[in-house]
Symmetry: C2
Subunit: 238 residues, 2 copies
């Protein structure tokens, strides 16, 4: 009955963006929108919008377009945002604390229930009313509470083991900020947020653009500095 064909990852990754734009439209009291109009706003082809949405059902109407509120709520349901999620944070460092303090999550139904850390100075404290427990308590907590998502913000060295344990104890998904690829059972879902990777790709693009400018305008009369370095490095290889 519910056996739809597999939705492609590319589509799923676009869903939150649709959801955001539809939310904006809703706030602007716009009641209907065509794929063409949305296309202009979102910088996606109208064709793709229609195809994306059609993966989940015919939400639109010929000659009318899409009803904004209806579509918004449909995507909300598709993403599963019509219920609450219990989350725990493992690692009470900078990023862990920042996420706990980010109140917008709670407004959307993503509720952080507990923080776990190894640092005795943090254990026993509360962050925005949320208790920080010793990691030793993790097993008992996870086994006695329904934890949907574990947010991993710990050092690489510990992340892999912790993720494995959590998976074993029944956590459904991991939102992984640790700079490592987790190896967990197939039935546990992982979404990676590798901030450093993201920054590096930005730097690559910056460099690419900068060197292109050099090439086009011939700003350097002599040998480009970077290329010269490359040659030296090559010589140093054994």
């Amino acid at each position: 009955m519910d056996s739809e064909k597999k939705i492609s990852p590319a589509v799923i990754n676009r869903l939150p963006r649709y959801y955001r734009y539809l939310g904006d439209l809703l706030e602007s009291d716009i009641t209907r929108i065509s794929s063409k109009e949305l296309s202009a706003k979102m910088n996606i082809t109208a064709s793709q919008i229609r195809q994306d949405l059609n993966n989940f059902g015919g939400f639109g109407q010929q000659g009318y377009g899409y009803n904004v509120e209806y579509l918004y709520n449909e995507i909300k349901k598709i993403l599963g945002l019509d219920r609450m999620y219990n989350m725990i944070v493992i690692g009470g460092g900078n990023i862990g604390q920042a996420l706990v303090n980010y109140t917008n999550f709670e407004k959307r139904g993503f509720v952080i229930k507990a923080v776990f850390d190894i640092n005795p100075r943090l254990v026993g404290m509360t962050i925005r009313g949320i208790e920080v427990y010793d990691v030793d308590m993790m097993e008992e907590y996870v086994k006695t509470h329904d934890v949907d998502v574990a947010i991993l913000t710990l050092p690489r060295s510990q992340a892999v083991k912790v993720a494995n344990d959590l998976a074993k104890w029944g956590v459904k998904g991991m939102w992984n900020f640790s700079h490592v690829d987790l190896q967990v059972p197939d039935d546990v879902l992982v979404e990676n947020v590798h901030l450093t990777d993201s920054l590096m790709t930005l730097l690559y693009k910056i460099n690419e653009m900068y060197s292109e400018e050099n090439d086009l305008h011939h700003l350097n009369n002599g040998l480009p500095v970077k290329q010269k370095q490359a040659e030296e490095d090559e010589e140093n290889q054994d």
Copy 2:
């Protein structure tokens, strides 16, 4: 001379991951590796590894594989990690502060030089020795300093305007944590980190798996709770 054909985004996004694995190998004192071995470690096909790397040059050798240290350094250069980057943070809230406090960036040559905020309580303070300035100072600062990357961690409402200004004043790239799509000139590069979107895709996958389990194993004898809720929501549509 340097006019290589365009590298696909998919490849660029994988580069930091290669870089990370090669760094690990280097630390384990492994001097050479074949695409096949790396393939097993990284869960990518050997074919793809060879093709990815070949976009940038023939770093390997038949019958030998790739020299880890050499390849590591080549990718380092490709990503532009062989120099320092000046960054500023716009928005001294949770995430902004967390990034400032994240000392690993500095180790890699990503140096945060200043923070800008609108909140008078923050302005004048220092975070890890880095001054927080009023946003009014931004224009002068950016025009008199070489800013490679602006890290945007401000509310949606302000992000678009600020990004535009920064672009105009000469910032090369934006690392955007604001939950909005920036519209900046073509020569300014944007890398988005939409945390909420990322979390939502995780929730989608969790729900998908959960509902699949229902379908396959028929765990619920009665009506599934979630489905019932969904029906109620549908009734509430007008």
